[in-house]
C-alpha cells in the first residue's frame, strides 16, 4: 500500500490553500485533481498549449488564481501534484482508488483533506434537454477557457451573481444577449446588490459587470424566469415570463417568446459531497449551504478521524470562504501530524478563523437573494424529463409517489431516477425540492440518493489494469 502523509482531493482554491499551509509547515502533500492543472472551476487555467500574450486583457480572476498557485509553488519541494486523476471512491476512511490514463490504483493517506467543490443546480423545465441549453458554468468554460462562442443569440436565466458574470462574458465574446432573467426580486436596487456582492468578495468585479451590461443595453429582468425551451433537433426559441415574488411560481399569462440558439441556465450551486459520503463522514442537510454537507468542527474536521472537508464541497460559500477553510484545515493537519506545536497552530489559525467569522456575517444577504423557491417546481410538466440520464419523466415520479414512495431512494428504485451515468448529480437537488413540496416532508425525511463507487465512470479494463504507481512520472 502506498501511504502518503496528506492527500488533498481537489485542487481548487480550498485545496490549494490547504496544501500550501500544510507544506509550509513541513508536511509532504499530494494533490489529486481531474483537470490537467490546478485552479478548480473558478481559477481554471488555459490549456497548456495556449499562450497568454497579454495579461492585462484577461479577467481579474486570472490574476487571483495565478497568485494562489505562485504561493503553492513556493513550497513545491514538498508538494506532489497529480493531474488528470479521478478518485473513484474512498474506503475505510482514508484509502482511495484513483484512475489516471486508463490505469487504476490505490493510495492510503494518514490524513485527507476533501475539497471537491460544487456543481450547478439544475431545474427541469420543458425542453431543457435540447442541445443549446447549457449551464452557466459550462458556457463560461467554453467562452473563458477555450475562447469559443457556444451560440450566437442567447438568453440567460436563473438566480444569483453568476448570471451577471456569465452574461457579461457572453456579451464580450460577441454573443447577442437578449436578456438576463433573475428569478429573485431583491428589495434593494442592483446598484446596492452589486456593492454587497463586491464586499462579500464573491464577486469583486460585480460593479464592472453591471456597467458592462447596462452600456450594452441588455435588460436585467428581476422576478422573471424561463418557462420552456422550444426546438426539434436543437434550441430555436424560449418562452419566459414573470414569477411571483414570494414563491417564484410561474405566471403563464405573462409568457413571451424569443428566438435564441443558446439558453444559459444557472440556479446556484450544490456541494459535491460524494467522496465525503463514501469516506463515511456524517452529513447533515443545510439548505443555505446547498444541501447535504459533512458536519465539521471549527477546524474543518469531519466525523472521521484524519478526514477534513473544506470549500464549496462542504457547503457552498464561495472562493473567499474556501480559502480560509483550506488554510485552517492545512494548519490543523500539520498540527495533528506533529510537525508544528499546538501553540504555533493556534497562533497561525487565529487570523483565518477571524476572517472566516467576518465573512459569515455578510453572507446572509446572499442567501436571502438566491435561495431557491418552491414555485420553480411548477415549471416541469408531467411529460418533462426530470432525470436526463435515464429519461425519467415527472409523471413516473408522480406514479412512484402514488405507489407509496416516500423517500428519494424509494423513488429511485421505482423509476430509475438517479441511476444513470451522472448518479443523480443533476436530478437529485430539484427532485428533493419537488418531493418536499409534494409530500410535505423535510429533506432529512426524504433521505438521499446515496453515492456509490465508482463515483466517476471507469471501464472494467481500467479496473483490471490496476496497481499502477502514481507520481513516479510527475
Amino acid at each position: 500500500m502506498n501511504t502518503r502523509p496528506l492527500i488533498v482531493v481537489g485542487g481548487g482554491p480550498a485545496g490549494i490553500a490547504a496544501a500550501t499551509e500544510a507544506a509550509t509547515f513541513g508536511l509532504n502533500v499530494t494533490i489529486l485533481d481531474e483537470a490537467p492543472t490546478l485552479g478548480g472551476q473558478i481559477y481554471r487555467q488555459f490549456p497548456g498549449p495556449f499562450r497568454v500574450t497579454d495579461k492585462a486583457a484577461l479577467e481579474k480572476e486570472f490574476e487571483r488564481g495565478a497568485s494562489l498557485r505562485a504561493e503553492l509553488s513556493g513550497v513545491s519541494s514538498r508538494v506532489e501534484v497529480l493531474g488528470e486523476t479521478s478518485v473513484l471512491g474512498i474506503w475505510n476512511g482514508r484509502e482511495l482508488r484513483w484512475s489516471r490514463n486508463g490505469v487504476t490504483g490505490t493510495l492510503e493517506a494518514s490524513q485527507m483533506i476533501i475539497s471537491t467543490g460544487a456543481r450547478e443546480r439544475s431545474i427541469p423545465f420543458p425542453g431543457w434537454t435540447l442541445p443549446g441549453v447549457m449551464t452557466a458554468g459550462g458556457a463560461q468554460i467554453f467562452v473563458k477557457t477555450y475562447r469559443v462562442r457556444p451560440g450566437n443569440k442567447a438568453l440567460v436565466a436563473g438566480t444569483g451573481p453568476l448570471l451577471l458574470v456569465v452574461s457579461n462574458q457572453l456579451r464580450k465574446a460577441g454573443v447577442e444577449v437578449t436578456a438576463v432573467l433573475e428569478a429573485a426580486k431583491p428589495r434593494f436596487s442592483l446598484d446596492r446588490l452589486t456593492k454587497v456582492w463586491g464586499e462579500w468578495g464573491l464577486l469583486n468585479d460585480a460593479w464592472t459587470y453591471w456597467r458592462g451590461l447596462r452600456s450594452a443595453g441588455i435588460p436585467y429582468l428581476f422576478g422573471h424566469t424561463v418557462f420552456e425551451a422550444h426546438g426539434t433537433d436543437r434550441l430555436q426559441a424560449v418562452t419566459f415570463g414573470k414569477v411571483d415574488l414570494e414563491h417564484w411560481r410561474p405566471d403563464r399569462t405573462t409568457a413571451k417568446r424569443v428566438d435564441v440558439d443558446l439558453l444559459v441556465v444557472g440556479f446556484g450551486l450544490v456541494p459535491n459531497a460524494e467522496l465525503t459520503s463514501l469516506a463515511g463522514c456524517r452529513h447533515e442537510y443545510v439548505n443555505e449551504l446547498g444541501g447535504w454537507v459533512p458536519t465539521r468542527d471549527e477546524h474543518m474536521r469531519t466525523s472521521v478521524p484524519g478526514v477534513f472537508a473544506v470549500g464549496d464541497g462542504a457547503g457552498v460559500a464561495g472562493a473567499l470562504v474556501a480559502l480560509e477553510e483550506g488554510r485552517i484545515a492545512g494548519i490543523t493537519a500539520a498540527e495533528q501530524a506533529a510537525v508544528i506545536s499546538v501553540k504555533q497552530a493556534n497562533r497561525r489559525r487565529a487570523v483565518h478563523l477571524r476572517r472566516l467569522a467576518s465573512l459569515q456575517r455578510v453572507r446572509g444577504v446572499l442567501d436571502e437573494v438566491s435561495r431557491i423557491r418552491v414555485g420553480l417546481s411548477e415549471l416541469a410538466r408531467p411529460d418533462t424529463i426530470v432525470c436526463r440520464c435515464e429519461e425519467v419523466r415527472l409523471s413516473t415520479v408522480q406514479a412512484a409517489i402514488e405507489q407509496g414512495a416516500r423517500t428519494l431512494q424509494a423513488v429511485k428504485l421505482f423509476s430509475r431516477l438517479g441511476m444513470g451515468a451522472c448518479q443523480g448529480r443533476t436530478c437529485e437537488p430539484a427532485m428533493r425540492a419537488h418531493l418536499c413540496h409534494a409530500l410535505g416532508r423535510t429533506a432529512e425525511e426524504l433521505e438521499r440518493i446515496y453515492p456509490q463507487p465508482p463515483v466517476k465512470q471507469v471501464t472494467l479494463g481500467e479496473l483490471v489494469r490496476s496497481g499502477g504507481q502514481l507520481g513516479v512520472q510527475s
Binding site: 498549449p49 497568454v52 450547478e120 443549446g132 458554468g137 477555450y146 469559443v148 436526463r388 429519461e391 465512470q457
Partner: protein, 120 residues
C-alpha cells in the same frame, strides 16, 4: 457584435463557415490540426477538448438517447452530467468535455448506449 472578432477560416481546408472561436483577448492558441467527426474533418487546436472543437465548428448535437431517441448536446461542460458522451476511437460513452483533441482523433455521434468498436 462585441469587443472581439471572428477568427478567419482558410478556404479549401476542413472548413466551417461559422468558426466560433474568438481571437485576441490576450491569448494565443497552440498548433492547429484535424480531428475526424462522423467521417468529416473538423479543426481543433492543441489544448482544446473535443467538446470545445465541436462547439467551435457549430456542432450542437452529439448523440441521441436510448429510450426516447431525443437529441442531446453539451450541458454542464465540466464532466458532471455525462450528456456530451460520444464514441471516441471506437469507445462509447466518452465525455467529450473531458478529453483532449489530438491529431486524427476519430469521434462519432453516439446512438443510445453506443457500441464498442474496439476490443476493450
Amino acid at each position: 457584435m462585441g469587443d472581439e472578432n471572428h477568427s478567419g477560416d482558410t478556404p479549401g481546408s476542413p472548413s466551417h463557415s461559422l468558426d466560433q472561436r474568438l481571437t485576441g483577448g490576450g491569448v494565443e492558441r497552440g498548433s492547429r490540426f484535424e480531428i475526424v467527426v462522423d467521417g468529416r474533418a473538423v479543426w481543433a487546436y492543441d489544448g482544446e477538448t473535443v467538446a470545445a472543437a465541436l462547439v467551435a465548428s457549430g456542432l450542437r448535437t452529439v448523440r441521441t438517447t436510448a429510450v426516447t431517441a431525443e437529441p442531446r448536446g453539451f450541458f454542464c461542460g465540466m464532466g458532471a452530467c455525462f450528456e456530451c458522451v460520444m464514441i471516441v476511437e471506437g469507445i462509447p460513452n466518452i465525455r467529450t468535455c473531458q478529453i483532449r483533441a489530438r491529431p486524427g482523433l476519430r469521434v462519432e455521434s453516439q446512438v443510445g448506449y453506443g457500441r464498442w468498436k474496439v476490443t476493450p
